[in-house]
Symmetry: C2
Subunit: 317 residues, 2 copies
C-alpha cells in the first residue's frame, strides 16, 4: 500500500460511497449566529461521537487481505482511536491503540469497549511515536496515522461530499477545527469551490503556522495548556500541507474561554453535547472571528467528553 501517494478528489468520492453504505448522513442543522442563519454539520452524532469513524473505516477497508490479517496500530488521544477500533471490529481486524494514560477516561473506556487493545504511555515523558513503532514492529502491523495518511484524509473528506449532497451545492465556506489537518485536507478535496477556514486552539496552531512558513512547524517546548485535547498534535504532516497549501484560510485561533462559550451555546441552542475540540469551529464563529453567510457550514466534530468536565463547564456559564 503506497502511503506516500497524495489523496485525490476521486478517492474522497469513493470513500463517500463506501461510508454512505454503512453510516447514515449526519444532520446539517440550521443555527442563527449574530443574526445570520447558517448551518452546522453535527459529526458529533456519529456512532463513535466524532468524524474520525470516516477515516478509520476508509483506511482499514483499503488494507490488503495480508495487511488485515496482521492487524493495525494507531496513536490517538481518543477519537481516532475509536474510529479505528470501530472499523477494525466491523472488519474483523485486530487493533492496538497507543493512547496517553491521561486521555479522557470516557475515550479510554469507549475504545476498549469497541474491542481494541489499549497500549498506554506517559504524557509527557514517553515518545508516543517510539511506543507505536515498537508495537508495529512486534506485531508486523500497519500503522494507521491519525491525519497524515491519504486514505484517512479521503475518508474524512466524505463529510464534505455529504454536505454538498444535503445542500444541493458546495457551501460558500466550511469552518473546520484543525488538529493535524486530516479533516481540513479532506474537505478541501471534497469541496473545491468552498473556502476552507481552519480554526485551531491558541498556541496549538501548527497547521496555520505551517501554511505561513511553507513547511511543517513543530509545537514549542512549552506550549500553553488547552482544553481541546483532540486538537493537540505536535505538528502537521507534509501530505496535509501539500493539500491545504493555497486552499485553506489560516490564522484563526480560539481560547479556552471561547470554546467553553461554544459548548454552552451548543447545549442551549442545539441540544448537543460537544467536547471542547468539537466546539472549536463554532467558537470562532460565535466570537466573530470568521465571516458567516447563509451558505456557511460549521463543523461540530466531536462529542466525547467526561460528564464531570461537562457539568463543570455548564456551571461556569
Amino acid at each position: 500500500m503506497n502511503t506516500d501517494r497524495l489523496p485525490t478528489r476521486e478517492g474522497v468520492q469513493s470513500a463517500a460511497r463506501s461510508i454512505a453504505a454503512i453510516l447514515p448522513p449526519t444532520p446539517l442543522l440550521p443555527v442563527e449566529i449574530a443574526g445570520v442563519s447558517c448551518l452546522v454539520k453535527a459529526e458529533s452524532l456519529q456512532p463513535i461521537g466524532a468524524f474520525k469513524i470516516r477515516g478509520g473505516w476508509w483506511r482499514l477497508s483499503n488494507l490488503t487481505e495480508q495487511e488485515k490479517a496482521r492487524g493495525v496500530v494507531a496513536v490517538s488521544s481518543g477519537n481516532h482511536a475509536q474510529g479505528v477500533a470501530w472499523a477494525a471490529r466491523r472488519l474483523g481486524i485486530e487493533a492496538a491503540i497507543v493512547m496517553p494514560r491521561d486521555a479522557p477516561r470516557v475515550k479510554l473506556e469507549a475504545t476498549k469497549a469497541l474491542g481494541a487493545e489499549l497500549v498506554l504511555y506517559e504524557r509527557p515523558g514517553e515518545d508516543r511515536d517510539e511506543v507505536a513503532a515498537r508495537e508495529v514492529e512486534r506485531r508486523g502491523a500497519v500503522l494507521v496515522h491519525a491525519f497524515g495518511d491519504p486514505w484517512v484524509i479521503e475518508g474524512q473528506g466524505s463529510a464534505g461530499i455529504e454536505i454538498a449532497e444535503q445542500m444541493g451545492r458546495q457551501p460558500s465556506r466550511i469552518v473546520a477545527c484543525c488538529g493535524g489537518g486530516g479533516l481540513a485536507a479532506g474537505l478541501a478535496l471534497a469541496c473545491p469551490d468552498s473556502t476552507i477556514q481552519l480554526v485551531e486552539p491558541q498556541g496549538w496552531d501548527m497547521v496555520g503556522r505551517a501554511l505561513a512558513a511553507g513547511e511543517v512547524v513543530r509545537v514549542g517546548e512549552d506550549p500553553p495548556a488547552t482544553i481541546c485535547d483532540a486538537l493537540r498534535p505536535d505538528a502537521t504532516k507534509p501530505i496535509n500541507l501539500a493539500v491545504l497549501r493555497d486552499r485553506a484560510e489560516p490564522g484563526v485561533t480560539v481560547t479556552d474561554a471561547e470554546v467553553r462559550d461554544a459548548q454552552r451555546f451548543a447545549f442551549a441552542r442545539l441540544r448537543l453535547a460537544l467536547e471542547p475540540g468539537g466546539a472549536a469551529a463554532l467558537a470562532a464563529a460565535l466570537a466573530g472571528k470568521v465571516p458567516l453567510d447563509a451558505d456557511t457550514v460549521i463543523m461540530l466534530t466531536g462529542g466525547n467528553t467526561d460528564p464531570s468536565d461537562f457539568a463543570g463547564m455548564l456551571a461556569e456559564g
Copy 2:
C-alpha cells in the same frame, strides 16, 4: 374551523409534506441497548428542541385568514409554547402563551425570544384553563390546544411519516413518551402497521389509565412529583383517546431515577442533551420495560433543560 373532527391519516400525510418543505428531517440514529441494535428519532434536534414545532406549524398553517389576523393563545409548560411561537413568528401571527410561572427558565426565555407574549399564572392555585379562556375572550383569538386538537395531532404524526421514509418501511414498534397523547395519536395514524408503545411518568399515566378505563381520567388531588415537566397534563382528551383506543400499548411508566439514567446514557452514548421528559421513552427501553428489536424506534422528544439541572444530573451519575 371544525376542531371536533377526528384527525386522519391523510391529514398526517399533508402535514408531513408541509413540514418537509420548511424543516429538514431529524436524524434516525443507531443505538445499542441490551445487545439489541435499534434506532432513536432525535426530535430534540428540531430548531425549538422538541417535536412540538410540527403540531404548532400545522395548526397555525390551517387557520383562516380571519383567524390569523386575530392571533392565537396556547397553554404550555414550554415546548408547545415554543412550537406555537415559532410558527406564529414565521406566519406573522400574534401569539400569547399561558405558561406556569415555575416553568423551566430556559423555556420561558426561549418562548419570549421567539416573539410571543407570555401570560404567566401560578401553579398550583390559578386555573390555567380559566386564564387561557380569559385571553381568548379578550383577544378574540383561537386557542391552540397542546394535544387535544386534530391539526396538532396530525402535525406531530408527521414524525412517523418521516421515520417510515427514512427506514423504507414502518417500524415494528415506536416507543413514545406521552403527556396528553398528541404525539402518540399522530404516530398511530402515521404508522398503522407499527405497535405504539406509550411511556408515561410514574403517577402521571393519564393516557394509560384512560385507555384502561375507556374514558378520560383526571390526575388525583395530590399526584407524586416528577422531573418530567413536559409530561404533566391533568388528563388526556376524548379526541386522543378515540385515536389511541385499540391502537396503543399502555401500562409502562418510568421513575425519575430511570429518566436520569436515560439522560446520562443519551449524553454519553449519543452526545445528545435531553430534558427529562424527552428521555422518558429511552428510560423505559433501558429499564427493560418494553420489547426491542432491530426495527424498533425510540422517540427522543425534547432537549430544553436548565444547565444547572443538567449539570446536577451528570454529577449524580
